[in-house]
Symmetry: C2
Amino acid sequence: MTKVALALDDARELATRCLVANGCDKANAGAIADSMVRAEADICESHGLFRVPGYVAALSSGKVNGKADPKIGPVAPGVLRMDGDGGFSPLALERGEEPLAAAAKEQGIAALAITDTYHVSALWQEVEALAKHNLAALAVHTSKAVVAPAGGNKPFFGTDPMAFAWPRRDGPPMAFDQATSVRAKGEVLIAARDGHEMALGIGIGPDGNPTTDPNLILKGALLPFGGYKGAAIGLMIELLSASLIGEWCAFEQSEGDNNDGGPTRGGELLVAFDPTKFGNGEDWLDHSEALFERLLSQDGTRLPGDRRLANRKRTPTEEISIPKSLYDNIVELT
Amino acid sequence: MTKVALALDDARELATRCLVANGCDKANAGAIADSMVRAEADICESHGLFRVPGYVAALSSGKVNGKADPKIGPVAPGVLRMDGDGGFSPLALERGEEPLAAAAKEQGIAALAITDTYHVSALWQEVEALAKHNLAALAVHTSKAVVAPAGGNKPFFGTDPMAFAWPRRDGPPMAFDQATSVRAKGEVLIAARDGHEMALGIGIGPDGNPTTDPNLILKGALLPFGGYKGAAIGLMIELLSASLIGEWCAFEQSEGDNNDGGPTRGGELLVAFDPTKFGNGEDWLDHSEALFERLLSQDGTRLPGDRRLANRKRTPTEEISIPKSLYDNIVELT
């Protein structure tokens, strides 16, 4: 595949210009572009510039407010609520970080409910940002129905990612971000685009039978990881990121979306914990470092997310590379 | 196997007497017996009277304080901390329920850190109790190292259960309680006791190779559900139920225990959410009922925990049955 190399700043500028050309204001375009380019630097293509055409589609159809002005405020001593004003989620998330960190440090534990947004779900970025405030952070979110429930054979759950981060003494936080499906939808989309087969067990076709064809899986359903246990976690994520905060569950997102190809409307729940406020008399960071060290003393183990951190380190030239077809598409849309 | 039938009240009394005879005061014995007998009524044998000999062993060795007087207090506006006074967990959990529910209703979200207890981990009972206050509830806890990390082949994580409950409009809450291992340790113990083989994929022997022999698995390691994704959740649970609150991680529990056969010292984290405090303008219970209804409209699906609720309903004679060998053992220990 022909690739185009881009300096990080140039990639950010290209994406920003494209989004502004399609109806975003600079604040929204900048926040979205920054999130995508950081995903590219982490070599997580499925959350990178690959998403630009979808954003543009959602702006063009009028579904999403490109000039959204998300507003945050407390609704209970431990709970903040963000009204996303019908925009894409990155600006809302950017504006939520500091108030949530402050609330967690005051309360010991605090939650942020993000509503009325169209979501880009690179959740690891959000929990990582909170962990840089020396907090533990959990984020859950749902999207269009694509995952079959345990025992069922039609899409019902979103891929329902859960992300969690914990501060490290030296270097960036430990952070994982994993779909409740065996594989993320973005990976299936990319396999379909590139004409790759997928392993058995990832999804079923529209007839309910297992298949390796990503196009059939996109018409059928993904499967939850770990069978009924993963499905139970998916249900918990729907309840916390939709029923708890009054946002759309996956099945409602599927029914309410205009199918313009962009992200669907949905919410997100973030929970932040301040380890210094749990009456923990010992050095909590020493304790968790000992846990990580002991885990890594077993041959063959690694910490969740460490491939992403290694990728990030390997982008020292501040340069990313994207398929030429995608580059041309973005330029054309600009 | 010869079984003995017992009325629920008689089972509770038998277990209470046995625990008192071995050094518990009435408050602790009653709370433990009640938890075990409710597990028996749910036909969850591995959290039932099966545990009595382990409790007695831990009392006899002097490891656990049978007359513990657990005390709870706030350590931050949203965080309660329970000092378990070196006792078994049931009395601490009983005393924590009302204060945690009250804190969640005031704060919107609240946490309870339970420390210095020896744990019985029937977590569904605790989250179910909180959900009866019209709260969503999450509980995590770790125990002795028995699960190999992804890529590793020696025990490192506890079975690291996660339980979650959500209120229903009619009837008992939806509640799941699942180990991060493919199977709970209690199931392996019971298979070993009864001489049953287990399916491949549940565990590895001391040589690191897959095995179906529960005795070899008990000497080797259990495996996490869903591979690296389940292992990541296990790591999160260790961090939240140990590093966050200053209690022992699984590997520390293994190293610090006197191996008397009873439960090990460990902590637990409970988080409760009040759905009326998230600025959710709609009827949150209507919303979640619609989610459950839609899920169940797919053939072959069921809600997590519904087998347990069905079992509970099928105990209408208020009578349980336990193996005669266990009954005789308890009587002998009394």
